[in-house]
Structures are given as C-alpha cells and as structure tokens.
C-alpha cells in the first residue's frame, strides 16, 4: 500500500502498534469524542462520567471554563458565556447581526473579516472558542487512552460551505489536533448503523440537531457510500423549537414580561426542558423566576406541536428537494437514519415517518450516533484496518463559481459533484501590460453575486506583461477530500506560476492563524525552536524509514540505476541534515528527497492499481472485451 504506511516492527517511530485516533462530533449544543477500542466504539467520558460536553465556553475572572462548568454561567454572565458557537463558524459581520435575535453577545469592532466576541478575557473569534472545546476533548481522549493522538475525524454538517469547513479545520489546528478528515455528519451516522456492511439501496439521513438541519440521500453499494444529494438548513434546529416555545411563554406572560439577558436565557432553558419532558408527558408546568419577572403556566403537547409544526414542515420541504436532486422518489428510500437530539420529539418522528413512509432507525442514542461513525472512520483512516473495504465517496454540497461581468456568477464546479475534483478555467487580460488580476470566488446556487456566499477574493500577480487578450491564465480550482478549495494559477504561454493571494471573505487569513498559534503556545521561544527541531527530525526519520522499506520491496523492479543513485544521494543528504540542528535545512532536504522520489512514488501507486485491477478482471473483463469488439 502507501509508502509511508510501511513501518518495520521495532523500528517504528511511533511507540504504539495501534494508532490512537478519535472521532469528534463538534455539535452546536453538545460535543462528543469517541474511539474504537478492541473493535468496539466507545464514547469517552470526563472525570465525572459525563459523555456529552456542552458546547459552551465561559471566559471567567480566573480562567476559561468549558462544558458543564461554563453552562452554569450562561444565565448569570451571558456576555462572557458563548453558547452555540457553531452558528458563528465561517460567518461574517452581517450574518451576526441577522442572527442576533436568538442570542445576546457583544461584538467588537474589528478589521478582521470574522466577528469577534467581546469577553473579559479579550476578544475571541468563533474559531478560538471552538478550539477551546476541541482542546478539552483532545485532553480527555489522551488521558483516557494513555497516549498522543495521531489525529481526529471531525464532523461537520453536510450543508457547511467552504468558509465554515475551513473555520472548523483552523479550530482543530489551534487545538493542536491533526485532522484526518472532515466528515459530513449524516454520512458518519450511516456508518454508525453499519449500513456499509451488506446493505444495498438508497437511504436518507435526517439529522435535526440543536442548531442545524441536514438531510442526506445516500446510496449504499458493497461498502461504498455515495452521497447522492445533500440539503438542509444551516440555521434550523431544536434551538428554534425552544425559541418558538419561549416566544409562546413571553406571549402568555403579556405585559408582566421584563426583558433582560437573564430572563431571556432562563425562558429558553425552561422552554427546552418543557420540550424534552413533553416527549413523555402530555403536559408540563413551567415556572419562571428571574429578578422582577415571575411567570407560571402549563404547556400541553398539542399546543407545543402546533408551535413547532411549521418548523418540522420546513425540514420536510428540504427533504423533498434533496430527493429531487438525488433523482429518487419517497418509495426508493428503504431506511431513514434519525440523528440529533431533536429527533426525540415525537412530532418529528411522526411527520418524518409519514413523509418517507418507511421505518426509522432510532436504535443508537441520537446524540451519540455521529461521534460513533466518526470514530469508526478515524480508525480506518489512521491505518488500523488496512484490509477494510469501507470507502466514503463524498460530494461538494454547494456549487462553486466565480464572478463575471454584470454581477453574475458562473458556476465552475456544480454541487453534488464527487470530491476531490479539480476544474481549470482560462482567463485573459483586458489591458496591455496587465500583470495582476482579481478573481472573486462564490459558493451557492443562485445566479446573482449578491445572492451567493462570497468565499474569497484571489489576486493573481506576476503575470508576464503582454498585449491585452494575449495572456492565457489557467486558474485551477481544486476541492480536496475535506471539501476545501485550493486555487492555483499559471500563465500558459510562458509557464509562469502566478502567485495567488487569498483574502477569505469570512475566514482567517493564514497569518492570522499563525499569530493565534504562536499566542497559544505558552512555551518560551527556545522551547518552541527545540520542539520544532525535534518534530522535523522525527519527520525525517519517518520519511527515510518509509523509503527504505519501499526500496526493499520494489526498488530494483521499479527504478533504473541512475534513479537509484539520485535517490541514494538525496537520502544521504537528508541523513546528514537530520543530525544537525537546523530545522529549515532538514525541512528543505525532506522536500528535496520527496521531489527526487516523486516519479517512484507515483509508479508505486500505479503498480498497485495494476495488480488490483488484474485481480478484478478475470471474469468481469473477459466478457467486456467481447462486447467491446462487437
């Protein structure tokens, strides 16, 4: 298999045979970490035995608290207690104003493209708040598993756009977590139910969480998951049920209502509690006691259902659209996986079962199902199950396009295209001697720039000066397996690589992330240098070790003498650099060795493909070649 997955026993640089990897469900309301231990998935608990970590961060007088501890302050210290931070990931200032009805925070005036919450411990972005949550989960995992993690699979709503995915990845980076893959939550849920083994057919995953709704239509076929379509609403969830109920309470209270941040929060909490109790009870008594506002009343199930019915109806509209996108009918759906705490609400189950007219899968705790699937996938990606056949084929959820004349968007990669994918587009200059060019990238389905989400502005520089229209600049849009966009540009006539300056519309620039990283590392500068040197040396060992085992297997077969000599020389140079103490030189020599090996690595990968295809071909391709001749 892969070059670097081969490690000789005893020589391995990693002390553990089993590579520790976790799945993390970074939820709007709660977060959760899970791992695979002796073939079984377990969610990991904190010291008090609690599995769910409320996604709440409190910036207190004497430090930062996360989870239950932080939740205690949500009523008494609302401005310094960030809840539902996921709603703010990858969002801009305008979004924050639009969404403010639900929450009450102070936002700082800032030059940064991302909004920053004002807290007593300074201004923080949603990325930093999420990183606090991830740090706690990482620490929990490392303590409970007794070792360092090689990485994590972090789940995101299928509906997340590029900025939101990038923000999630940045948060992981800040928390010191290696992201093995960003996985769509509904896909993780299907994996949790083991729908990859033996099942064939089309299923739906209905995921109604605290703050997001996702519907995914997946086709399962011999261990391969294909996402036929995704849809949903990134700002609709159980929180909105709570909000609807809280509005009802306020309406009932009439003139006696006194609005304060505290009373708003308290009403939301009571509304949520009432909703949960109504999954069992026919009616509940509600008592609100906040400062000079007191209210007491009774909410019955029928009333609640009338309050939330329009919201559930909205989710079904998204389901219809997803079915149409997938090109399937209700009858084609064999199972519906129910995910997210809000699917405990009886009306939701009733209406979803009615819509799809089939049985619902509710066997796994709907709060844990996503983390469970993520843990299974993390185990595969960490290389712990090399023979596993499971493969997730994913799609890009929203079309990517660029701005053209007249404020219109030209789509370059259509939604639901399988990823990774790359598309090239040619541009030319419109002025003599033009050496720079701006490209505005957008995401969304609408035709007008103003109706789509701005992702980034790219500035191409270093175009060789030519007469207008002569330059041919080929811009390649590459979307990787995490659904993240990478842009590169090249002037075709001269072969000059144009440099690309990325200005993310709603994200952090690389330098901002660097600064945060530096700020977050508490070590003295010397320590940091030493740490980086150590890391680079480990990396050098890893590269050499992998190369040696690869050469032992097929070096003679795949390489000419000349190539072998070149590789040996580059290997020797790296060996020498490795024992020095210059981090940059080691890094450079690794790159050099990798460049020399580029063809060899590609050949190895291709030769693997060949043998596997041959293994396949005996009966399948015999009949095919006949068909081809006829």
């Amino acid at each position: 298999m892969a070059l670097l997955q081969i490690a000789e026993p005893g020589q391995s640089t990693t002390p553990h045979q089993h590579r520790l990897a976790v799945g993390i469900d970074l939820g709007t309301t709660n977060s959760l970490v899970a791992t695979v231990r002796s073939g079984e998935v377990t969610t990991l608990a904190d010291a008090n035995g609690k599995h769910l970590l409320p996604s709440v961060v409190h910036y207190g007088e004497d430090g930062v608290q996360v989870g239950e501890e932080a939740l205690k302050y949500s009523v008494s210290d609302p401005y310094n207690t960030i809840v539902s931070v996921k709603r703010y990931m990858g969002r801009g200032h305008a979004d924050v104003q639009g969404d403010d009805a639900h929450h009450s925070y102070h936002f700082a005036d800032t030059d940064s493209t991302v909004p920053r919450f004002k807290t007593r411990r300074g201004e923080v972005s949603a990325i930093e708040v999420s990183a606090e949550i991830l740090k706690v989960l990482k620490q929990r995992a490392e303590e409970s598993l007794g070792g360092e993690l090689v990485g994590a699979v972090i789940t995101v709503p299928a509906y997340f756009d590029d900025a939101q995915r990038q923000a999630t990845k940045d948060a992981a980076r800040l928390a010191g977590l290696e992201v093995l893959r960003l996985l769509n939550e509904p896909t993780a849920a299907a994996v949790a139910y083991g729908l990859d083994t033996g099942n064939e057919g089309v299923i739906a995953v209905y995921d109604l969480g605290g703050g997001t709704f996702d519907i995914s239509i997946l086709r399962l076929n011999k261990g391969v998951f294909e996402v036929l379509a995704t849809g949903g609403n990134s700002s609709l969830g159980g929180d909105d049920f709570d909000y609807a109920i809280s509005q009802w309470i306020i309406e009932q209270a009439g003139e006696s209502y006194r609005e304060t941040p505290e009373s708003k929060r308290l009403i939301m909490q009571q509304a949520k509690a009432a909703k949960e109790q109504l999954a069992e009870a026919q009616s509940v008594d509600i008592t609100i006691d906040s400062g000079d506002f007191h209210w007491q009343g009774t909410l019955d199930r029928d009333t609640m259902e009338e309050l939330i019915r329009p919201l559930v109806q909205k989710t079904l509209m998204s389901c219809r659209r997803a079915l149409r996108d997938a090109g399937v009918d209700n009858e084609d759906i064999s199972e519906v996986v129910m995910v997210g705490g809000s699917t405990r609400t009886l009306l939701v189950r009733e209406m979803v079962a009615g819509f799809f007219d089939c049985e619902l899968l509710t066997g796994i705790d709907p709060d844990k199902v996503v983390a469970t699937g993520a843990a299974l996938q993390a185990d595969v990606l960490a290389g712990n199950k090399p023979d596993d056949e499971m493969l997730l084929l994913d799609v890009i959820p929203l079309s990517l396009g660029i701005e053209t004349m007249g404020g219109l968007v030209e789509k370059i990669i259509h939604r639901n295209t399988a990823i990774p994918v790359s598309r090239a587009q040619d541009f030319t200059t419109y002025k003599d001697g033009q050496t720079a060019m701006a490209i505005h990238v957008l995401q969304g389905e609408r035709e007008l720039v103003s109706d789509c989400r701005s992702l980034a502005r790219f500035e191409l520089r270093g175009i060789p000066p030519q007469v207008a229209g002569a330059a041919r600049i080929r811009v390649t849009f590459q979307v990787d397996a995490d659904g993240l966009l990478i842009v590169s540009a090249r002037e075709e006539n001269s072969g000059v690589e144009a440099s690309v300056d990325v200005k993310p519309s709603y994200g952090l620039s690389d330098s901002e992330v660097e600064t945060m990283l530096r700020d977050s590392i508490e070590h003295a500068e010397e320590d940091m240098h030493l740490r980086m040197l150590r890391e680079q040396q480990v990396e050098a060992d890893r590269v050499i070790e992998a190369l040696d085992s690869a050469l032992a297997v097929d070096g003679d077969e795949l390489l000419s003498e000349k190539e072998k000599t070149a590789i040996a020389a580059a290997r020797e140079e790296l060996l020498q650099a490795r024992d020095g103490n210059d981090t940059n030189v080691i890094e450079e020599k690794i790159k050099q060795l990798e460049a020399v090996c580029e063809d060899y690595v590609a050949r190895r990968m291709n030769s693997n493909i060949k043998s596997a295809m041959q293994g396949h071909s005996i009966e399948e391709y015999a009949s095919d070649s006949e068909a081809g001749d006829s």
Binding site: R181, G383, Q478, D480, M605, K610
Partner: protein
C-alpha cells in the same frame, strides 16, 4: 500494462471502448474499483506527496466519470480525442428551423403556468425533449463512427439546446410542486 491514471484517457480509465454508447454499469464498477485504490481516504496517514498524488488521481477519475455520464460532455470529449477541441460555451447552431422550434418552446414555457394543467403539459414536453435528445444522440453516434466530425459537432450544438430545455422544464416542475405544497 501498468495503469497510469493521469495518462489514461477517460475511456481507457474505465476499460471502455471509445464509443458513444457506454455501458454505465460497467463504468460504475470500474469507477468504484479505482476509487477504492486511489481515494485520499486510503492515504490519510501517508506522506504529503502521496496525498497529493492521490488527490490528483481521484480528481481525474471523478472528472472522467462526470464527463462520460453527461451526454453532451461525453460527445464533446470524444471530439476532443479526435483533435477537435470545442468550447461548449461558444457553440451554437445556425439551423433556422431548429432555432424557430426552440423559440416556440421557450415562449410556451414562459407562459406555461397559465395553462389549465401545467404539470401535465410539462410532463408531455419533458417526454418530447427526451425523445428528440435520444434521436440527436443516435445521430451523433452515427456521424462519429463515419468520421463526419462537422456533422457530429452540429448534433452536439443541438443537444445542448435540448439539455437547457430539459433543465428549464425540471425547474418549472419543481416550482409548481413547491407552490402546491404551500
């Protein structure tokens, strides 16, 4: 015999003969077999170099599948293999009778919501478009086999109109369904 993914054309990639009628089942099978080997998930803990190669190879395979699945893109790609690289955006037919027909259809679609049973009318139109498309596809396949590339190109131009009409009809159906749902 080694399969160099990035050096293979889309048909070779899936072990298909270069012909307009493709065995989609077989293509899907080959697509999955390749994905299982080169997909980035197989290289999640590999070197950056392998990750990059894996991403390029998978992108190429995805591009191949997307292209071959689509009747217009597949046809254009086949012409490209013959050295005729056309830009679909700039292709338009000059066949006056055909254009007239298209114009009439567009006009009818614009006012279709005012008809007595718009859904039934749209279903009927969708069927007609499908029929015309399939005739055009057969025309392309024949022209291509007989190496009449200019004729083949003309079929692509017309097919593009049909595809746009099909999308327009589907969007209208979706609109009307949504309105009916309230």
């Amino acid at each position: 015999m080694t399969k160099d993914i990035l050096a293979s054309n889309f048909f070779e990639l899936f072990d298909l003969p270069v012909a307009y009628d493709i065995d989609t089942g077989k293509m899907q099978q080959a697509y999955m077999a390749l994905q299982k080997q080169v997909h980035p998930d197989r290289f999640a803990s590999a070197s950056d170099q392998e990750k990059r190669i894996s991403m390029q190879q998978t992108s190429w395979i995805n591009e191949a599948q997307t292209t071959l699945k689509d009747p217009v893109q597949r046809a254009a790609y086949m012409l490209k293999l013959k050295g005729l690289d056309i830009n679909l955006h700039n292709e338009t037919t000059m066949d006056a009778a055909f254009l007239m027909q298209q114009l009439e259809m567009r006009e009818r679609l614009e006012n279709i919501k005012k008809e007595a049973d718009p859904l039934a009318a749209l279903d009927k139109m969708a069927k007609d478009v499908k029929q015309s498309s399939s005739e055009l596809m057969q025309g392309f396949a024949r022209a291509y086999e007989e190496d009449r590339l200019d004729d083949a190109r003309e079929y692509i131009r017309k097919l593009q109109f049909m595809q746009k009409a099909k999308n327009q009809i589907n969007n209208l159906i979706a609109d009307i369904e949504d309105e009916l749902m309230g």
